[in-house]
């Protein structure tokens, strides 16, 4: 524990990022003890109330309690990001390791595919995919799965580059000479050495997933009945909250989104410091 605190002092980005993330997780879990989840869905007559003792964050144009919405929505948005990030990283690991380790023709095919795919903005691909789902009432999990469709390319490319540089290191040769099979080398030699890098990739692809889901939801594609952050933004715009001067309705989701995204970026920077100690950066 003592060592950990000492380390965080040298790597403040990781410390700040992780504590912000921890705060958000506490907010959405412990927060649940103080709310009635129904208030995030139930439409009441208390429309557009400014923050008060009863409604600490105020209410929106449908009379939903914003505090309840934020407590539930933070969890949902993190959930979308986590699903998309985990699947994206999983596919990215497989493709990245295959391309980086196999090399040659396989590598050329996979890399070109990734390059082409990355030139087409993932957001537009998601919009096209969502047109298939017009009229379908999406759930939060499904939203995560949809976003996952575009989350693999970034990690795949980054992991491939890492594998490529690690493949020629002496310890891999030693393992080869020692008679290890390819899969064994990958699992026992490469993966453990890349672990900090993989965790950083995870945090980056969770960030990417949340970013993509926010954009889609802000355009009205998503779990429309759920109080996710992006859907809240959509309704802010739908009911022109800024025209009515409802600052609390804008403040709540904006703060949660800023906290979420910044915490993930800081965590990535901190993890990058662990993964690439030679490239020491000050933030």
């Amino acid at each position: 524990m003592r060592g950990f605190i000492d380390y965080v002092k040298r790597n403040p980005a990781l410390g700040i990022g992780m504590s912000m993330l921890l705060f958000l997780i506490l907010f959405t879990t412990v927060g649940r003890l103080f709310i009635d989840p129904q208030n995030a869905y139930k439409q009441t007559i208390f429309l557009n109330q400014p923050p008060s003792r009863e409604h600490p964050f105020g209410t929106d144009a449908q009379g939903r309690d914003l505090f309840t919405m934020m407590v539930l929505g933070t969890g949902m948005t993190l959930q979308i990001g986590a699903i998309a990030g985990a699947i994206g990283l999983g596919v990215g690991i497989v493709l990245g390791f295959v391309a980086g380790y196999a090399g040659g023709f396989v590598d050329t095919i996979i890399t070109s595919l990734i390059d082409i795919w990355m030139t087409i903005p993932s957001f537009l691909i998601l919009i096209l995919i969502s047109t298939i789902l017009v009229g379908v009432d999406l759930k939060v999990t499904e939203m995560g799965l949809i976003v996952a469709i575009v989350s693999w390319a970034g990690p795949a490319r980054a992991i491939r580059a890492q594998v490529l540089s690690m493949r020629e290191r002496p310890f891999v040769w030693m393992a080869k000479l020692g008679g290890m099979r390819t899969l064994e080398i990958v699992m026992k030699e490469l993966v453990p050495n890349l672990l900090p890098f993989l965790v950083m990739s995870l945090s980056q692809s969770v960030y990417g997933g949340i970013m993509a889901s926010l954009g889609l939801e802000a355009l009205g594609i998503g779990a429309r009945r759920e109080p996710t952050m992006g859907m809240t933004l959509f309704y802010v715009n739908y009911y022109s909250a800024f025209l009515l001067g409802l600052w609390w309705w804008i403040l709540a989701p904006v703060s949660v989104i800023v906290l979420t995204l910044t915490s993930l970026v800081l965590t990535s920077i901190g993890l990058d410091e662990i993964a690439n100690p030679r490239r020491r950066r000050k933030v």
Binding site: I116, T119, I132, V254
Partner: protein
């Protein structure tokens, strides 16, 4: 510049465009839904569109896209239509063609978007270079970098939302949205219109600049530190060159190169992000039209806009790839593998 490299990039450009067009072709056919018929049924029911009109439109589409022909033939027709920018008619705004709408709306988006990207890039690079320069006191960094980190990690429409509330609604300094006052006609040769357009474009541009300039500044700042450690910088200092010359010709020029690659990669993100921001600004540009097309299930308009966006991003990336070797003579693309 190596010919081989140029050919590779051209092939790549066509692959991207072809892939975008193919996704557009495949997706609706995978679902087995008929967007035209679905839309017509809705319109007949809700807007009292005449049955003959609807039938007429369905026939037009069947003819244009050859929907009665085998799939491979449909595919060839579709691709050749797309290459000639023939995306058919908008379902909602029939009989206007998709291309007509794209040009109408695109000319409102293109000017402010390109100005915004240009300002963000120049400002970001200069700011980042100054921050990373070893003559800049550390406390400036301590103050400026944390907010930049926050700005660069949020989407631009979030900044737009806050700007609309504070600058436009609270302080009433600038209009809250729309590309030009609704009392005006769109007339690009009228200086009064241009002035109004510029005034309305300030907030959308600002929301892009705040986010993107911060991102580039942070990247640039990190690169400056690397360049400052290079031998040629030490040599330039030993020669007693003027600080301004070292800064611009030695540090800035070399540190800038990765930012240029970053520009190409970031372009898609900026364009799609501004599409969302446009809906917040109720800005009648290409982006909000995309948003509206999603809401109204106007599939042909949607596919047209997506294709045009992919095309412009792919072209911009291509141009950047062509310019890059000219800017950095150290790069030779002879043995570029993977």
């Amino acid at each position: 510049m190596h010919l081989n490299y140029v050919i590779r990039r051209v092939v790549f450009l066509f692959l991207v465009i072809w892939m975008a067009a193919s996704i557009n072709f495949l997706l609706p056919r995978l679902t087995g839904r008929d967007p035209i018929k679905e839309q017509m049924l809705i319109q007949i029911a809700s807007q009292g569109r005449k049955r003959e009109d609807a039938q007429n439109m369905i026939d037009t589409y069947t003819r244009i896209f050859g929907l009665d022909k085998p799939l491979w033939q449909q595919y060839i027709t579709y691709i050749s239509n797309t290459m000639r920018f023939n995306f058919g008619y908008s379902i909602i705004n029939y009989p206007r063609t998709v291309m007509e709408i794209i040009i109408n709306r695109g000319r409102l988006t293109l000017p402010f978007l390109s100005v915004a990207i240009f300002i963000s890039f120049v400002l970001g690079v200069l700011l980042g270079a100054l921050l990373g320069w070893n003559k800049t006191p550390q406390w400036v960094n301590n103050i400026v970098v944390p907010p930049m980190l926050v700005f660069s990690s949020v989407p631009q429409y979030l900044v737009a939302l806050v700007l609309i509330y504070f600058v436009a609604f609270r302080m009433k300094l600038l209009p809250m949205g729309q590309p030009y006052p609704s009392t005006m006609m769109e007339n690009w040769s009228d200086p009064k219109f241009l002035l109004a357009y510029a005034r309305h474009a300030v907030l959308p541009i600002l929301s892009i600049v705040v986010v993107e300039a911060s991102g580039w500044a942070l990247g640039m700042r990190a690169m400056m530190v690397t360049v400052e450690g290079e031998d040629y910088t030490t040599f330039a200092e030993a020669r007693g060159l003027k600080q301004s010359r070292i800064f611009f010709r030695y540090l800035l020029r070399n540190a800038m190169l990765p930012s240029l690659t970053g520009l190409a990669l970031r372009l898609g993100f900026i364009i799609t992000g501004s599409a969302v921001a446009e809906t917040f600004f109720s800005y009648n540009g290409l982006g909000s039209t995309l948003g509206a097309a999603i809401g109204q299930f106007d599939f042909f308009l949607l596919y047209g806009i997506v294709y045009i966006m992919v095309l412009s991003i792919a072209l911009a990336t291509f141009i950047m790839d062509m310019v890059y070797p000219l800017l950095d003579p150290r790069i030779t693309y002879k043995a570029q593998k993977g």
